[in-house]
């Protein structure tokens, strides 16, 4: 039996719209997955308007939709361009939309003027920081090969000086594993109170990971356990902990069983040229040897119904859905992970229909064990206390 779903079931499903204001990045990280990061193009304001209109006219948008400017370094575009972009988005969205814009940035260009802009627009800011300079500069390099840590820390100082709240995203590579104390010590000293750990993934044009070595699973587990200890003592919140606890507290929704990366249109990415993608944002702009481009359509030309009926979506969704089903059937961690990321499966296994990847063994399974293990320890202590009293 082929289950059918009315278009109503996609209503209000898009939480996050990733807009690629520019594919250009002012640095050239060794692990970057973006194929066009040297291209200095800019999304026309008309395309921004069309993208936001496409989301809402097709019924996908919700009033708390967040627009994140990413997939290139967003601060390489001028503030005046964003003023126009935000106005265009506002005009294209229904009146009930509460504008929420976010920047994920390498931090290097942040100064007092940018901070004033962040504050004026209530922007959410995430800075990519891989820890102290010795770790950060190993991979986050400029095109001349020099590191970018010093400039990023100038940006962090500006954020602190101007009291702009922000979080950090730290990519964990093999070199990070031996240094959990230094990493958390660095964030504590820098005044960063929320950190998310992205493991170095094999995806897009990044075809290798320093983590993909025998023995690194156990090392990653030890690293993360230590991170939890040190973060607790410094009062630093860890995104992954919140994610595991949130998932553990709730059973998966039978109607919408996966996660934001493997359920259709939870995240929509629109490139600077107006091409529409869904599922993992890293699928945007890559030409896969078997699947080709995973662009579903264009904001000026294709309705949601046409896209969902189309060959590209149907092929991709059939693969992703069978991977999701296999994860649900075979993996004990499904209630936490909810089927992994298509980009990781495609990058490591060559198909989105597979299950386990290095990315999920580390980024889902070991993290879940570490966090749930702590809950169990606390529960054990509670039981002992209850008996004693």
């Amino acid at each position: 039996m082929i289950p059918v779903l009315s278009p109503e079931r996609l209503r209000g499903r898009t939480k996050l719209l990733v807009l690629q204001g520019t594919p250009f990045c002012n640095i050239d990280c060794t692990y970057c997955y973006l194929p066009d990061r040297a291209v200095k193009a800019r999304m026309p304001v008309e395309t921004i308007r069309a993208a936001v209109r496409w989301i809402f006219e097709n019924g996908l948008g919700r009033d708390d939709l967040t627009i994140i400017w990413h997939a290139g370094e967003p601060l390489t575009l001028p503030r005046a361009w964003y003023e126009e972009a935000f106005t265009a988005a506002r005009q294209a969205a229904p009146f009930s939309w509460r504008p929420r814009h976010a920047f994920q940035t390498n931090g290097m260009l942040i100064d007092d003027a940018w901070c004033a802009f962040f504050a004026a627009h209530g922007l959410r800011v995430g800075v990519s920081l891989d820890g102290p300079a010795a770790l950060h500069d190993l991979h986050r390099k400029r095109r001349n090969g020099k590191g970018s840590h010093e400039a990023a820390m100038h940006g962090v100082a500006a954020l602190k000086r101007n009291r702009i709240p922000f979080h950090a995203i730290c990519v964990v590579t093999e070199a990070t594993l031996a240094r959990p104390d230094e990493v958390i010590g660095f964030f504590a000293e820098a005044g960063v109170t929320d950190v998310g750990f992205n493991i170095e993934e094999i995806e897009g044009i990044n075809t290798g990971s320093t983590l993909a070595k025998h023995g690194n699973r156990a090392r990653f587990r030890a690293f993360f356990e230590r991170v939890l200890d040190r973060a607790a003592s410094h009062g630093i919140g860890i995104r992954e902990v919140r994610g595991v606890l949130g998932a553990a507290a709730n059973l998966p929704d039978k109607e919408w069983p996966g996660n934001d990366q493997n359920m259709p249109f939870a995240i929509v990415t629109v490139t600077h040229q107006g091409a529409i993608y869904t599922f993992s944002p890293e699928l945007a702009g890559i030409a896969h040897p078997r699947l080709g481009s995973m662009a579903l359509g264009h904001v000026d030309a294709d309705s949601l119904a046409e896209i969902v009926d189309g060959q590209v979506f149907q092929t991709l969704w059939a693969e992703i859905a069978s991977g999701l089903a296999a994860c649900a059937r075979d993996c004990a961690y499904f209630p936490i992970c909810r089927g992994g990321a298509p980009s990781n499966k495609l990058g490591e296994l060559g198909t989105c229909a597979g299950t386990e990847t290095m990315a999920c063994r580390l980024g889902q399974q070991e993290i879940a064990e570490a966090v749930l293990g702590r809950v169990l320890n606390e529960m054990g202590r509670d039981v002992v206390l209850a008996k004693a009293s």
Binding site: I2, P3, V4, C29, E203, L228, R242, I336
Partner: protein, 79 residues
């Protein structure tokens, strides 16, 4: 076909295999003995109880204002 009435076809796999009747963790063949994930139902009960009573979670949860306000950080990609 009338677009408004047209139903979207979804792959059979996601909604017929596994997802409707989710296996309990302890049935999974891939799980070794002693893993925390095997005790998820107990953990879930404790977490729900904690949340319902409005108590703090017992491990560092990142549940600051910032994290609550924007739950969907860029948890994808390298940097």
């Amino acid at each position: 076909m009338d677009k408004h009435k047209k139903h979207l076809l979804w792959s059979a796999a996601a909604f017929t295999l596994g997802l409707v009747s989710m296996p309990s963790a302890s049935q999974s063949l891939s799980v070794e003995e002693g893993l925390a994930i095997d005790r998820l139902p107990e953990i879930r009960a404790v977490l729900r109880d904690t949340l319902e009573q409005g108590r703090d979670l017992i491990v560092p949860s990142g549940s600051t204002k910032l994290a609550q306000d924007w739950p969907n950080w860029t948890n994808w990609g390298n940097g």
